[in-house]
């Protein structure tokens, strides 16, 4: 996308996209630090490098009525949905003030007031439930859409295919977004996929597929917005493959030995935050000083989330049996 085309967007919108991506980046870096300090335990999957996918896609939603579901690499989607960083960090610390009251942890971030329905720890398991949430809109004859995120590892699960077949058959308003970060844990996706272009996997169900550059937030936004409108207006589901890359390992315990330093560096040259920043600077709608001040702000928010999490109380033992049943 050329910087000249930036003029078609309100400046505040572009600044929000930039800030949202930057917040995810700084928040995730802070999570990595806190994991190293053993303040966060268990599995912790960082979203660094993939920010443009969640931010660009979720910008196309009306979070007062639409739904977002994703897999276990969910901090970025939660922030893009507008979840409070304090509640997220507190959840990672397992505190009572966490967005899931300390019961969910890294893989299960929820805030239904912001359309964020998790966070799922079983690869691909969110795909049918996202499809079922889309059923609500058709059943109640309401306008709304579901964004269902999953990775290049999940696309081979049976429930992906079962869900797409029914989404098409039942005309469900849903956009499936495969974030192809190239590796399912340590496995290069080429080693486990019969096809290179994952977006064609909807073809068997007559679902249109599209590949987008997942490092370009505006390209992601445009494609998802068009798919969202098609879903809401005509009940046509879409499959989007966002080609992206994670800078960190699969989880905090993964040193990422299955890929070369050169490969990692080459992707860092197409950094989603830098792409938008440079476009905006070139278009003279952002100064370096403004960018630095955003960066400071995002670091401060992340630091504050740690302070909040540290000062928050542990859940009481009596909460153990709460919310097992409604």
């Amino acid at each position: 996308m050329k910087s000249s085309s930036l003029s078609s967007y309100p400046i505040d919108f572009l600044k929000k996209l930039l800030k949202d991506m930057l917040l995810i980046r700084r928040f995730e870096e802070k999570c990595g630090q806190m994991y190293g300090l053993q303040k966060i335990g268990g599995f912790c999957h960082l979203y660094i490098g993939q920010e443009a996918v969640a931010v660009g896609s979720i910008a196309a939603l009306d979070l007062n009525r639409d739904y977002c579901l994703t897999a276990y690499r969910d901090h970025g989607h939660a922030l893009a949905c507008g979840l409070c960083p304090n509640g997220l960090m507190a959840e990672l610390f397992g505190k009572a003030t966490g967005c899931s009251r300390g019961k969910g942890g890294s893989m299960h971030m929820f805030d239904i007031t912001k359309g964020m329905y998790g966070g799922n720890g079983i690869v691909g398991a969110q795909i049918p439930i996202a499809t079922g949430m889309a059923m609500r809109f058709r059943y109640k004859k309401e306008k709304g859409v579901v964004l269902c995120f999953f990775g290049d590892g999940a696309i081979h699960q049976g429930v992906f295919h079962e869900s797409l077949n029914l989404a098409k058959l039942w005309k469900l308003p849903i956009v499936y977004i495969c974030e192809n970060n190239q590796y399912g844990m340590g496995t290069d996706f080429h080693r486990v996929s019969a096809v290179e272009d994952l977006s064609i996997k909807g073809a068997a169900y007559n679902i249109p597929g599209k590949q987008v550059n997942g490092m370009d937030v505006l390209e992601v936004y445009e494609e998802v917005l068009s798919a969202v409108n098609q879903a809401k207006e005509e009940g046509i589901p879409t499959l989007i493959e966002a080609k992206t890359y994670r800078y960190k390992g699969h989880s905090m315990s993964d040193p990422g030995k299955y890929r070369s330093k050169e490969e990692l560096e080459s992707y860092k040259q197409q950094d989603p935050i830098l792409i938008l920043k440079n476009q905006m600077v070139d278009a003279k709608i952002l100064t370096e000083e403004e960018y630095q001040s955003y960066d400071e702000e995002c670091k401060n928010i992340s630091n504050e989330s740690v302070r909040f999490a540290e000062q928050s109380p542990e859940p009481s033992l009596s909460s153990l049996y709460e919310d097992v049943l409604a």
Binding site: S100, P128, Y139, E162
Partner: protein
């Protein structure tokens, strides 16, 4: 009072609840145009149409997950599994999504859904189609699991299950669909957490649920001829288990046989036997006996398949054992 079949009782419950609440719908294989593999949903598609009585392809994980999502979004789905043998394909969705969503979201997301269909052995179906899977589901916190044994219980409990804000696993059986019983015409609801004393007695407590109830009732009649008075407790709910009703009976009779068509290892029956052994230890005059299925896959041959399952003879023998007769 009208006498109807177990099948009709379930259909009445679904019909009444669909009439009452527009967010209730049913989906599954052959539930609509075919009128249900076991005709439970007969007539409902004609009455409510394809939006609310929904045929699915043969994708148990897919349509079960979709129904769970619909429940998360505020609808009240009833999932019909053609049999619980096929529910294993959907087990991940039930265990990891339906049962855990409320807990791991910190109480934000309810999953009001019913999973129902026939469970347990029928006849001449061999190993893959004659399995009793209640213990799988009863193991999982976040689920309610019920297995009514009469048309009256089935209707009242299914209506409650549909209105419940939790996922409820509702176990029926192919061979029970034609069973008959009295069901009142007016609306009634039954609790999902109460056992029912199906027969009062003083000498021995016989605990069972679902299809084996008839085996146990016949055993009680035979024992009566020997002057033994049996109390029959129908668990009805397997999660939670109404422990107090069990203990009150055993404290009275001091002897207990549990009859369950599950396999013996880590089953509902073995759990109930353990609960009574532990909590009524001082009241028991004999160790608790468990009559269950033999620990083998189900064979096709009829003589063999009957030999696998609980029978009147096995229950009577177990009763005589705990009575030291």
């Amino acid at each position: 009072m009208p006498i109807i079949t177990y099948r009709e009782a379930i259909r009445q419950a679904i019909d009444e609840e669909m009439q009452r609440d527009e967010s209730v719908f049913i989906l599954g294989e052959e539930v609509a145009q075919y009128d249900g593999a076991y005709k439970v949903t007969q007539g409902l598609w004609k009455k409510y149409g394809s939006e609310r009585v929904i045929d699915t392809p043969i994708v148990e994980a897919g349509f079960t997950g979709i129904a769970i999502g619909a429940a998360m979004a505020g609808l009240r789905p009833i999932v019909e599994w053609m049999t619980f043998n096929f529910s294993l394909l959907a087990l991940d969705q039930v265990v990891n999504n339906a049962a855990k969503m409320l807990y791991m979201s910190g109480g934000q997301i309810k999953v009001p859904i019913v999973f129902r269909g026939p469970n347990g052995p029928a006849e001449f179906l061999s190993s893959q189609h004659s399995q009793a899977f209640q213990s799988y589901y009863a193991h999982i916190p976040g689920l309610k699991v019920v297995a009514p044994s009469t048309p009256y219980d089935a209707k009242g409990m299914l209506k409650s299950a549909i209105r419940d804000d939790n996922p409820v696993v509702f176990l029926e059986a192919e061979l029970m669909y034609a069973w008959q019983g009295e069901v009142p015409e007016g609306e009634y609801l039954l609790p999902l957490n109460k056992a029912d004393i199906k027969r009062q007695g003083k000498d021995i407590t016989l605990i069972t649920y679902s299809k084996p109830i008839k085996v146990v009732q016949e055993a009680a009649r035979q024992l009566e001829k020997e002057g033994i008075s049996s109390e029959i407790i129908d668990l009805r709910s397997l999660r939670p288990i109404d422990e107090e009703t069990l203990y009150a009976s055993v404290r009275k009779t001091n002897r207990c046989v549990v009859c369950d068509e599950s396999w013996p290892v880590a089953s509902v029956g073995s759990h109930v036997a353990w609960l009574i052994s532990k909590n009524c230890f001082d009241d028991l005059d004999a160790p608790v006996e468990l009559v269950c299925s033999e620990d083998v896959p189900m064979p096709y041959n009829h003589t063999l398949e009957l030999a696998v399952q609980p029978s009147v003879e096995k229950v009577v023998a177990a009763a005589r054992k705990v009575l030291y007769l």
